[in-house]
């Protein structure tokens, strides 16, 4: 931007002259002086002259002037001169003394006139006279009236003076249409003075000021309030300023119109072209001049669109002028001025577009400008082959970059060129193909890349590139000069010689670099430098290199190469490396040169015309220089760079046992395009994991040429043993381009570990240099990588591809121990038994082992299962560790029995057996001091795992059967005192239960039952009366029971109840104890008896309400009377019963009955019984049905009848609930609802 007149670029704003604010000579605390100073600051801070100022805040460009400032004359002649009307402005091309005479377009001085010499508004700061207040104190005797009068007179006098001054000023302003505003500074006291208004009106009238926004009063206020004042002052005056510039515009437009009409009156170019006299400005020029002026005035008014329009018109007209060499002869002063003007207008247009965020239009205009003038330049003889052209293009790019940079800093937002169309809405558009408009949009969506605005770094970069071109052209021109062809030397050549191109390029690149860095996305900024910045950095480094600042260049190269290497963009490295190398050469840095040369050797893929040049260079460097520290080895670490050799290390077997050996091959393949044959590699070091010193292969030169595929046998290598062969391994370490040397051998280890080649290192030894080049064991130059190949035959060469992963190492493990483990047991196991499991370990190896066994009983999910294992004397419900089997020699075996105890329910039990074997090192007692050896041996442990699943079953299947019987004995009376005794066994309600229990052997094994006993555990509700097992039967036990055999025990239980009959079950009052053992021949079986406890089943209370117990003998003799008794018992705890008994007459055929036929019995209280008797004489033989009795409990019926009495129903009294009749001879019923209500099914056998 500095290359253009600032006036032509700066953003124009209305000008405000401010007078009367002369900075005080001395600093004092006077309120008005402070005010003056603050005002000056506040006004000047309103606006800074800048190029990029899109804000429309109605602010003025303030110029502080002297109070009696003079404006430049409008015309050179005095106003009273008769020629005045025909005269022109001093800057007009028509004025002979003007710098533009006779054909200049417009000069920066014109802008300067409007920005510094002529205001649009003039603000005059004045002090209003204030009658000193102290006067009243000094003259106390003077009456008030006198003093007021005196003050009034004084004020009037001063105000008149002030008005006269303002009026004078006002007159000169009005001539030019400049608004005059007076600001009267008054003290705060004055503001409150009632006379102030009158005085102000007087001053305004006297001075002829406008009525609006022409007179302000300001008292000393704070800085903030002052800013408000300044703002409101500008707001008030802005309109006047706009009017002022509008008036100018109108005037210029009038002139332009006059011109275009009077166009023909000017002499044509042909008339004067032949003469060498200056021609007057042509009509096109006048158009440019007027359009430009109008554009400027519009810009003053902040009317951007209007300004843009006029600038474009001016620009278009300029292009027309440039199009003709007749109008603007090239390389003249006017031509150069016009060119500058065109460039500046271009910038103005671009800027105005950008204000409006029209990026594409802005950039398009800029590009068109460059293209247009590029075309012109060719015609002017300063085309693309000249440095002038490139200098100019660079300037254009640079100024755009600077403009954007300024813009971005304030308000300009750079567009992001994301595609407007995403695949989703594209898809949607394809769906809705029927709407033609949208499809057209989809088809046409896109941007013109040359109109895509980017951040200013790109344009700085372009400027730098153009400057590089400029330098190139310039150097070509210098060469031309040296070769004495100065024919086409351009006028600027002498100037160009003074230009430091490289410095400019560097500056531009540096600016671009900073901007690129600034615009690098934040995420990648943290992890790495942006790649775009690296690219710029590369250009900077190149420039440093060209300008001879090699040290700077080297620093850049180092940084750039790091990223390129890491990201594996090797293709970009060779040019970088070669420049770097020349820098290193220039700097005389031998070590760096060596490193770079070696790295360059690795870049094989680049076709170079001289494949041997690098190796020659390397040799030359090595031979010519001496290392700074000869005893040190120079290590060239190429870990991230491309290696010289394609290397691979292959181990044939993935895993081997201790003592076995694995074959390996190390192959090194030389680059195909670079010759490294003459590089004197002195040795190759192979670093093997766990091996202290590397394996060294020394170079032994041979007379024959190295073959394309060489093989070197390395023999056997053990990592632990370093003493072998030492330096005796030799090979011819020379490579033809593309040739391979395969080093092969075998490796083994005495200890378990991993065989692996960790590093290869080649050493070059020349002339006290010792350069070590570490190589990764497996690497390749090409990214694709080589499939690992195993050389299987040398002649003809054959390779086997290696398929396995991790082909570069071999795992070494101990030889596994040969053990035979057998687990003997007889499934299924019974519950409650001690179940033997025999673990037998047989050593089938040739070594002696120490065997230790761990046994884990897995927890089961079976309910109530309590399981445990017993081995020897250890018992556990989980893990038993460290069961010693002792030392087993070859062929020997050890045996242990595990006893498993299961309880709960049947199901599967799981046991894990882990057999650990260690070689028995008791023989090594002699070398116990060799701890290391022992430690290593103790690692040699083999674990054999077995899992055992044992099904477990119950030995017996137990079923039980319970029936209940009512008590037949008469109940004790209700008032029987005995029943209140605590020990009284109240079985009135409970009755008794008769139960049987069946044990069935479920097998599959035979059982030897030793005894079955009932263990009594009488409780308060139940007691065992008797049991069949109580009878001692000597033959019964022990007895063998086969699967399916059964054993049954019968027992009787008396049930007692409390008053309350609870619903709870009664616990079985005891358990059966079955002692048994498995009957088998197995010696492992335990002789001890197993005990199984079987609890008696729970019992239930019979819950009867009313029961009639019918007792009748089962057998009778004909005509022999028998007694039939019926006991009606009220079991109900609280209700009494109203019983009606009825003997069914139709069933009386077989008997003659004496007794109650039908009747009521007295109310039966709860817990009471009533016994009824009948005498029967059988009159028939055979099974005679006993008479049926019907018993009703009428209680509920009576209650119901009583309830229905009121309704007057005389229905029959319902018969009531039927009471169950139980024949005690058949009383097995365990539930209430068994049997019909009567005893009709019961018969008596009547014998004759």
């Amino acid at each position: 931007m500095n290359s253009y007149p600032p006036e032509l670029l700066a953003q124009l704003a209305p000008i405000m002259f401010v007078a009367g604010l002369d900075s005080p000579a001395t600093k004092s605390q006077d309120a008005f002086q402070v005010l003056t100073l603050r005002l000056r600051d506040a006004l000047l801070a309103q606006r800074k002259v800048a190029i990029w100022q899109p804000e429309k805040t109605k602010s003025f460009q303030v110029v502080l002037v002297d109070r009696d400032v003079r404006f430049p004359p409008r015309k050179l002649l005095p106003l009273d001169d008769p020629q005045y009307a025909a005269a022109h402005s001093p800057l007009s091309p028509l004025t002979p003394s003007s710098p533009l005479h006779p054909d200049g377009l417009i000069a920066p001085i014109w802008i300067r006139k409007h920005t510094t010499l002529l205001p649009s508004v003039f603000v005059l700061f004045l002090r209003i006279f204030e009658f000193p207040p102290q006067a009243s104190k000094t003259l106390p005797d003077l009456p008030d009236v006198d003093r007021d009068r005196e003050r009034e007179q004084e004020e009037r006098k001063r105000d008149t003076e002030l008005s006269a001054e303002v009026a004078l000023r006002k007159k000169s302003m009005s001539e030019r249409g400049i608004k005059l505003t007076v600001v009267l500074m008054a003290s705060r006291r004055m503001l409150d003075d009632p006379t102030l208004d009158a005085r102000l009106t007087f001053i305004r009238r006297q001075s002829g000021l406008d009525s609006r926004a022409a007179l302000f009063v300001l008292s000393p206020v704070s800085a903030a309030e002052l800013n408000d004042f300044v703002r409101s002052l500008q707001q008030a005056l802005y309109e006047s300023a706009v009017e002022y510039y509008t008036a100018h515009s109108k005037r210029v437009r009038r002139k332009r119109n006059r011109h275009s009409q009077a166009h023909s009156s000017y002499p044509g170019p042909a008339a004067v072209s032949g003469l060498n006299i200056p021609r007057p400005l042509r009509p096109e020029g006048w158009t440019v001049r007027y359009e430009y002026k109008m554009a400027c005035f519009a810009e003053f008014r902040s009317e951007d669109e209007v300004a843009l329009k006029h600038y474009q018109d001016a620009y278009d007209m300029l292009i027309i002028m440039f199009g003709s060499t007749a109008i603007l002869p090239p390389r003249t002063k006017r031509w150069a001025e016009a060119k500058v003007l065109a460039d500046c207008i271009n910038i103005k247009i671009v800027k105005l577009y950008l204000y409006n965020n029209e990026h594409a239009l802005a950039l398009s205009h800029h590009n068109t400008h460059i293209r247009q003038f590029g075309d012109f330049s060719r015609g002017w003889g300063i085309g693309e082959e000249t440095f002038e052209f490139w200098s100019w293009v660079a300037r254009q790019h640079r100024i755009l970059a600077e403009l954007l940079d300024q813009g971005v800093r304030s308000a300009l937002i750079l567009p992001v060129h994301k595609p407007a169309l995403t695949s989703q809405n594209l898809h949607a558009l394809n769906q809705s193909t029927r709407i033609p408009g949208e499809l057209d949009f989809a088809r046409s969506a896109g941007i013109n890349p040359s109109h895509a605005l980017q951040h200013p770094g790109f344009y700085y970069y372009m400027a730098a590139r153009c400057t590089e071109m400029r330098r190139e052209r310039f150097q070509a021109a210098i060469e031309a000069e040296l070769s004495s062809q100065p024919g086409n030397l351009s006028p600027g050549f002498a100037n160009e010689k003074k230009v430091e191109h490289l410095a400019i390029i560097l500056e531009l690149y540096t600016k671009a670099y900073e901007l690129f860095k600034k615009y690098t996305p934040a995420s990648s900024q943290t992890q790495a430098q942006g790649r775009l910045t690296l690219w710029i950095a590369y250009r900077i480094a190149q420039t440093y290199h060209q300008s001879g600042k090699f040290d700077m260049a080297v620093r850049f190269f180092e940084r750039i190469a790091r990223t390129y290497r890491r990201e594996k963009w090797y293709s970009m490295l060779p040019p970088l490396l070669s420049t770097w190398y020349t820098c290193a050469q220039q700097l005389g840095d031998v070590e760096l040169s060596i490193c770079l040369l070696i790295e360059m050797l690795g870049h094989d893929s680049v076709e170079s015309e001289d494949p041997g040049s690098l190796e020659e260079d390397l040799l030359a460097v090595l031979k010519s220089a001496v290392p700074a520290t000869p005893e040190d080895t120079l290590v060239v670490d190429l870990s991230e760079a491309q290696p010289i050799f394609n290397s691979s290390v292959i181990l044939w077997t993935p895993d081997i046992n201790v003592g076995e050996s694995s074959a390996f091959q190390i192959s090194l393949t030389a680059p195909t395009c670079r010759s490294i044959k003459s590089i004197p590699f002195s040795s190759l070091a192979v670093y093997v994991k766990d091996r202290v010193s590397p394996l060294i292969i020394r170079h032994s030169p041979s007379d024959t040429d190295p073959p394309l595929l060489g093989v070197v046998n390395l023999g056997h290598i053990t990592p632990s043993n370093d003493d072998d062969l030492g330096g005796s391994r030799t090979a011819d370490l020379r490579w033809h381009p593309g040739s391979t040397i395969v080093f092969r051998g075998t490796m083994s280890s005495d200890v378990p570990s991993v065989l692996k080649v960790t590093k290869l290192a080649l050493t070059i030894e020349v002339n006290t240099w010792k350069v070590e080049i570490p190589l990764p064991p497996c690497s390749s130059r090409v990214q694709a990588g080589h499939a690992p190949r195993w050389l299987s035959s040398l002649d003809p060469p054959k390779f086997i591809p290696i398929e396995r992963e991790n082909y570069d190492f071999t795992a070494i493990t101990h030889v596994p121990h040969q053990l035979d483990v057998s687990l003997v047991h007889h499934a299924p196991a019974f519950l409650d038994e001690s179940y033997p499991i025999v673990v037998q370990v047989t050593n089938t190896d040739s070594r002696t082992f120490d065997i230790v066994v761990d046994i884990l009983l897995q927890p089961t999910e079976i309910d109530d299962a309590v399981n445990y294992i017993v081995v020897d004397d250890q018992q556990s419900s989980g893990l038993i560790k460290g069961i010693q089997f002792g030392v087993l020699g070859p062929g020997a075996s050890g045996k242990k029995t595990i006893h498993l105890f299961n309880s709960g329910a049947g199901g599967e039990r799981m046991i894990d057996v882990s057999i650990q074997s260690r070689p028995n090192d008791s023989e090594d007692e002699t070398n116990e001091d060799d701890d290391n050896e022992n430690d290593l041996l103790s690692d040699d442990k083999t674990e054999t795992l077995r899992t055992l699943v044992i099904p477990t079953v119950n030995p017996f299947k137990v079923t039980s059967d319970v029936s209940y019987r009512h008590k037949q004995e008469p109940w004790p009376g209700l008032a029987n005192l005995q029943t209140f005794d605590a020990k009284f066994w109240d079985d009135r309600r409970g009755g008794e239960a008769i139960a049987s229990m069946k044990f069935e052997c479920t097998g599959p094994w035979n059982l030897l039952l030793d005894s079955v006993t009932l263990e009594r555990e009488d409780n308060i509700q139940a007691k065992i009366i008797e049991c069949s097992t109580d009878q001692d039967d000597a033959d019964m036990f022990p007895a063998e029971y086969l699967p399916g055999d059964e054993f049954r025990a019968i027992y009787r239980i008396s049930l007692a109840t409390d008053e309350e009959i609870s619903e709870d079950l009664i616990l079985g009052p005891g358990r059966f104890v079955v002692k048994w053992r498995r009957n088998g021949q197995d010696a492992e079986l335990d002789d001890r008896l197993c005990t199984t406890f079987i609890s008696l089943p729970s019992l239930r209370h019979p819950s009867d309400g009313l029961v009639a117990l019918l007792n009748v003998p089962p057998v009778a003799t004909l005509h022999d009377p028998i007694t039939l008794s019926l006991i009606i018992r009220n079991y109900h705890p609280s209700r009494s019963a109203n019983i009606a008994v009825q003997l069914e007459p139709d069933t009386l055929d077989g008997f003659i009955v004496a007794g109650l036929r039908s009747g009521h019995i007295p109310v039966l209280l709860p817990g009471a019984e009533e016994k009824l008797l009948w005498r029967l004489i059988p009159v028939e033989c055979g099974h005679v049905r006993i008479p049926r009795l019907k018993i009703f409990n009428k209680r509920a019926a009576i209650v119901a009848a009583q309830g229905s009495d009121q309704s007057g129903s005389n229905a029959d009294i319902p018969s009531g609930e039927v009471v169950r009749v139980v024949n005690v001879g058949h009383d097995r019923g365990c539930s209430v609802d068994v049997g019909p209500a009567g005893g009709e099914d019961h018969t008596i056998l009547v014998l004759p």
Binding site: N448, P575, A787
Partner: protein
């Protein structure tokens, strides 16, 4: 408006940002290296765009990345994060997204079918970098199909541009 697309170079870049294949079609061979730089630097913008879009992943076409000197660079990311970069010659014409997307899709398909070659796996080293292996070897000189298809696409793009200009 005819699409005046002149394809100068195509670059395929692996998800690890290593170059897979860079093919230049411009006449000057000494400028081939320039397109390596172009491809490399475009990664910056690609990363920025991809990170910016973030959530709405799945959008492959990234649009204009940047234009520098006489080259316009467009980017594309396959769902498997292989980046495709196109360098066109800068011309003062609208480049329609739909056309560029089409070229990208053709190139993507070319790459996709080339990597489907089962023999690539055989060729690739089955070392530690096994997972990313099919990418680099696809462009190795041994397999010409990919190269040919890319060239074919470039030829079609060039001829389409020419035929369109001749029509208008």
């Amino acid at each position: 408006m005819p699409a005046n697309l002149t394809l100068n170079a195509v670059a395929f870049i692996s998800p690890q940002n290593h170059p897979i294949f860079i093919r230049t079609f411009s006449k000057q061979n000494e400028h081939a290296i320039k397109y390596h730089y172009v491809a490399h630097t475009s990664l910056d913008v690609i990363e920025e765009r991809v990170n910016a879009s973030g959530k709405q992943a799945g959008e492959c076409y990234l649009g204009l990345l940047y234009s520098m000197e006489d080259v316009v660079v467009y980017g594309y990311v396959t769902p498997l994060k292989v980046k495709i970069v196109l360098a066109f010659a800068l011309s003062d014409a609208i480049v329609r997204d739909i056309e560029v997307t089409m070229i990208f899709k053709a190139l993507h398909m070319a790459y996709y079918s080339a990597t489907s070659n089962p023999f690539l796996k055989l060729e690739a080293s089955n070392g530690a970098n096994n997972e990313k292996s099919p990418y680099p070897s696809v462009a190795s000189p041994k397999w010409k199909a990919f190269r040919n298809r890319v060239d074919e696409i470039s030829r079609v793009v060039g001829s389409a541009a020419n035929s369109q200009t001749s029509y208008s």
